[in-house]
Symmetry: C2
Subunit: 428 residues, 2 copies
């Protein structure tokens, strides 16, 4: 509240910091215009959108092009006279973010360039229930080295990595407190990632798989919408998105609906409770209820198990249909409670539910319309996720790219200071 | 983002608006220092706390004293030399906020002066299940006129009123969408309040009873804590408080836990569902389960029914103890789900639960410790509300007082413009 006059000694540093602050904001702003506009964007366009002068916008874009953040894609004819403008888009040729996922029955990795295009993906089916973090992180390390090698082949420099895990994780420190379906407790994941040679020196983070998966709902997030994103694999998690931001809660544990009870006298659960949502709506539980005895190891995103379930439901198998009906109904009961607490009216079905929606959605919506207390006045909309499968690993990679795009200054400065540094980094 | 130079025409108005803005902020700031400090506050103290000059602080305090916001209470000896400083506190002699409550089995009103002291209270036991809003607002009107007359007798001027209701209510428009236990739907409450002569011309608002009751947790709110406040009467509601702010949700309907299910095959509920929390943990349900056939009409805050239950539980009546055990357990199941979704670890028991806590808390805490997924790492604390009973009506009055204290400028200006206006208002 106190306003003080700057001492003359401090003025110069302060002014320099202010200039850098403005430059940092303007670079981020230019990137945001390029990434957010649906059509082609020119330097003049950025100036008009941001209120910068044409020459400021043009010089910032030159820096972004030089640093490998933005690329010139061609020319757009302009209404009126003058030269046609050069169109710009986020660069695809220099940087990439790495997403990694450890889930209950698969490992996955995904490489995204700054434009959000998937440049490489890898996955490995593996039953990780009761696994040891050492073993699993060992396999993750191999996948990471493979993907990093592929990045080098494509001449892409890694700008960071993010690991998605199905459990309680603190986004600030990457500490995994509990992943019930893996059987993991109190694992510090960041130091284990740091030891992987391909990730040395990079910014590394860990996040909850549902919270990261929700980031793939780009349109809803850009439009600052509010919704609950449900991520269903063997476990069932959710992300609470308020006004386009994932609301992680006090510890980063928000949205943990998988162990909310459906029936207090129901089957016992890995968490020690009875009748938890996962015992009705998890992939494992659906398979069990449908009478399947097939092994539950599925490739990336659970597609194959899910597709077996889909095939049986399509063929009219009554046990499978009943299992899906029960899953949808259980999910509806718990989501109704969730929406009542949060006062939200939109659900996005991700993970396996995206594919199972034709069977899961009707009983789910029935529960929501009868149990959400305000549903008659503000009907709950239930939709499926925008991205087919792999949402957690894609969201993890997106979170890396988004962080870099939100603050291009360090990368632009690195480029200005020494063009050789980049070459050096690429050669390593 | 665009910075434009002010045209010379606009400069003068702009400067005046800026000065008024600074004055408005400083007045609010001075009031905040006076209300927040635990010990006596002087003009010098305000200057030191806010970074204002002594003369600015002194002149603002003079205005606040003149307008009836602040009163001088005496002198404090100072360390060092000089005159002893005059101590200040929020004024008790001029303004009051009116809280009103319509609950399922009582009506209540409460008059609070700016210091937060209750200056008058009124209540009326009345079974309002299936009531008509017209009839009830008629009775409310009578209570309001009585309380307003009492305010005049105490030479207090009403600065606004807020009505607490047990249902879904939009805080911005005061529209009641649904109050299941009253049987009310789609009632515009503000126009009905406006028609009451004592409230003419005042700022009038309507809020959910649990959300308003949570405002009485002054210490936790001042310390920006996060918790779920449970308000239990015949209905069961909750307020979600994040970093000291009640989080009302999209429509103002957040925290509606009363109809979250405990047992899908349980007793049918007024909402049309089965096995809702209220069917186990509402006052009505507890009485029923304890085998009582006594009529359920209770005076303010449900004290007498609650005390009958307490007396029976103390005397060792097994049916009553079982009913309370069941209530606590059901509340624990639903609150565990709520805490999992929100990632919170603190519960404040308000309403009748405050008094029933010795019996309700143990089974509640048992459920929380086994069902809150992060409880082992971040144990859930369960405490009772700071204010005995009447929390919704007190919170409603507090919300009025808080709004006025947050922006004293209009009242100070009114005083400066015409001291007669106040006299006129007082005479009316």
């Amino acid at each position: 509240m106190r306003v003080t006059t700057l001492g003359s000694v401090a003025t110069h540093d302060h002014a320099a910091a202010r200039v850098e602050g403005v430059r940092r904001r303007n670079l981020a702003l230019a990137v945001r215009v390029i990434s957010a506009e649906p059509g082609p964007v020119s330097r003049a366009h950025i100036a008009a959108r941001t209120g910068m002068t044409r020459s400021t916008a043009s010089s910032l874009v030159d820096d972004l092009v030089g640093a490998g953040f933005v690329q010139e894609t061609g020319t757009a004819s302009r209404t009126g006279s003058g030269r046609p403008a050069t169109t710009l888009e986020l660069a695809t040729h220099r940087f990439a973010g790495l997403g990694i996922e450890v889930n209950v029955d698969y490992l996955a990795a995904s490489l995204l360039d700054l434009s959000g295009t998937v440049r490489h993906r890898a996955s490995e089916a593996r039953d990780l229930r009761g696994s040891s973090p050492e073993d699993v992180l060992g396999h993750v390390g191999e996948i990471v080295e493979d993907v990093a090698a592929e990045a080098r082949r494509q001449d892409l420099e890694l700008v960071g990595a993010c690991l998605a895990v199905p459990g309680l994780v603190g986004p600030s420190d990457g500490h995994l407190t509990l992943a019930p379906n893996l059987g993991w407790e109190d694992v510090d994941l960041v130091p284990r990632l740091e030891r992987m040679p391909a990730l040395a020196g990079l910014e590394l983070r860990v996040g909850n798989e549902a919270n990261l998966a929700a980031l793939t709902e780009r349109t809803a997030i850009r439009d600052r919408e509010s919704f609950v994103y449900v991520s269903g694999e063997i476990g069932v998690g959710a992300a609470v998105v308020i006004d386009g931001r994932v609301s992680a809660g006090r510890h980063g544990w928000a949205g943990e609906i998988g162990h909310n009870p459906v029936d207090l006298t129901g089957p016992s659960c890995s968490c020690g409770g009875r009748g938890c949502l996962e015992q009705y709506a998890g992939l494992d539980a659906i398979l069990r209820a449908s009478g399947s005895t097939e092994p539950l190891v599925t490739p990336l995103g659970g597609e194959s198990t899910t597709e077996r379930i889909v095939a049986r439901a399509r063929s009219g198998d009554m046990a499978t249909r009943r299992a899906l009906q029960q899953a949808g109904s259980a999910l509806g009961v718990v989501l109704a409670g969730t929406l009542n607490v949060l006062d939200l009216d939109r659900v996005v079905l991700g993970g396996t539910y995206r594919v199972l929606a034709p069977w899961v959605s009707p009983p789910l919506e029935e529960q929501l319309s009868s149990r959400v207390i305000g549903a008659r006045w503000s009907p709950v909309r239930v939709g499926v996720a925008s991205v087919p499968g792999e949402a957690p690993v894609l969201g993890a990679a997106l979170s890396v790219v988004d962080r870099v795009l939100a603050d291009p200054l360090p990368w632009v400065e690195r480029e200005r200071r020494s063009p050789q540094v980049r070459q050096l980094a690429a050669d390593l």
